[in-house]
Symmetry: C2
Subunit: 322 residues, 2 copies
């Protein structure tokens, strides 16, 4: 399985341009605002969302300047959610660096997230048509609903698999789906191809979030470069836990519920419960199912290098260690 | 001096329509999200920003559906900043009601603010042209910079009058200026009238914020319907304090600096310092100057009921008790 850097090779130069658009948009006359944005740049990771957008464009036709702008927009939306998520999760570390909230306080982090989302919409409004502004607006509406639902259902151990899938579809997959739709639409793809790519993006987002939640339990902090176990500490039920609560014998269930309700539940101890019901295995098989759905959705496209890369990206989600 | 309700009479029916657009846009399939939005509605106060937009339109020509949509957009932006401000200020009460952060926690309040700003941009993207999306995006960029600057300079007793004016121009006046510009632009006004109304809106915003900051020191919590003294507690220097630090004799200055740096400075005690230098009087005279600038900017418009109402609204800022 090739590394992401190899996979991104066909759009590497374009991603560089996206980074420049990102930086130019955020530039401020206030030096301390630029210093905050410089920190945000350091959290830049896989650039999964811009890559999905650009590769979707290439798989459907030609890459344009509009695609580059939109790739910067979706990365900015994503960064805004990361900065606010770190406040919500009271996280200390992101990409091996101290989070904005820990370093500059919650107030600066809340306002910096607002600054990022505002600039995302501002950059988007520079395009000729309202298509992208409407789609991004509808998508961020959904993302916020997903996040609100997650906070609302925290500590609720009656959360079902369907509830969980609703939440991650909204908070994570809506944006990856929108990335692929935008890439295809602005490449002039047919409605069938645009819809197919959106389905691919949605399934990739779901699979990505499931593996993210698995790694929050069984990943290593050093590889992930961020504080782990926060879902458990914040009493957010994720797929392995929901499965274990459903499948475990009554006594184990009772004991797990008590453990989840403890003030500081430990992820190492949780992992032992999950072993009894192979719940990590269950979650990874679910992720595999969504990867297969994603790959199948690509069948609407002609064969191309870009389509093959999108397929590999979906498969790679199952090999994630960070 | 007539009450605001009387002043708004010419646009009262239109403001009702704006409220409906506001509610429709925020409607969610998730009942608890609607419950949060119902609370936000209760914080709705003077509707100053929608009124400025609609009256600017009437002063320049005809009110259109676009104006109603934009009035809902600017109110949504304003509500988003209130909800996040209450998190930043750790405020307990807003419009005589418990704040979202105090009732539902900081996490729900941060996400609800995000939900409001996302819906504001989404609603704005329904208009035909990108003009408003661009202006609103540029304005919220500025608002965030102003808020970031305010947090950054907290506790800095070297803040000058110019620094203070920069901050409030960005965090408050940029939006009221944009309201008036949008009202005029979408009524087909001349560039001169559009610019004049924006100047009016900027000056009104500055005067409004100065009186807001004065009331945070000398207002009554019952009349204001919110927690007062938060600027002091959060070590935000406002115009009366900056003036007093500049004008007071050396010994009084030293004593005031020590008081400001105390863990829980009291606004009643602060008021005594300000009396020695007539600093409340200074701030109110400054507000009066900005009201005069606002009224003078209206001279580009032909005489009309709407223009007269805008003039009265500016004058009324000086009579505020809430």
């Amino acid at each position: 399985m090739p590394a992401l850097a190899t996979l991104y090779e066909p759009v590497a130069a374009d991603l560089e341009k996206v980074c420049r658009l990102f930086d130019d948009e955020l530039f401020s006359d206030l030096p301390f605002v630029n210093a905050l944005c410089a920190r945000v740049r350091q959290y830049r990771g896989k650039m999964l969302r811009p890559a999905l957008l650009l590769l979707s464009a290439k798989a459907c036709g030609k890459l344009t300047d509009e695609h580059l702008t939109l790739a910067a927009v979706v990365e900015m939306v994503h960064m805004a959610t990361l900065v606010h998520d770190d406040v919500l999760d009271d996280a200390d570390v992101r990409r091996k660096r101290t989070t904005i909230n820990r370093m500059e306080g919650n107030e600066a982090a809340i306002l910096l997230g607002d600054y990022l989302i505002s600039h995302a919409f501002h950059l988007c409004s520079a395009l000729d048509s309202q298509y992208a502004s409407q789609l991004i607006g509808a998508t961020t509406n959904t993302v916020c609903e997903g996040e609100l639902q997650q906070v609302h259902r925290r500590g609720d151990d009656n959360l079902t698999v369907d509830d969980y899938l609703d939440i991650i579809s909204a908070k994570t997959a809506a944006l990856t789906g929108a990335c692929c739709r935008l890439g295809a639409h602005y490449a002039g793809a047919s409605a069938r191809a645009v819809d197919g790519l959106e389905r691919y993006g949605l399934s990739v987002g779901i699979a990505f979030q499931i593996t993210d939640d698995v790694l929050d339990i069984v990943g290593t902090e050093e590889r992930m470069g961020k504080t782990l176990g926060r879902d458990l500490e914040k009493h957010k039920l994720t797929l392995p836990v929901i499965h274990c609560l459903r499948e475990a014998p009554a006594e184990l269930q009772r004991s797990l519920r008590a453990h989840l309700a403890a003030p500081r539940p430990q992820r190492q101890e949780l992992a032992r419960y999950l072993q009894a019901t192979d719940s990590i295995g269950y979650a990874l098989r679910a992720a595999r199912g969504h990867v297969q759905t994603a790959v199948a959705a690509l069948a609407v496209l002609p064969l191309s290098d870009a389509r093959e890369t999108l397929e590999c990206m979906a498969q790679m989600i199952l090999e994630r260690e960070n």
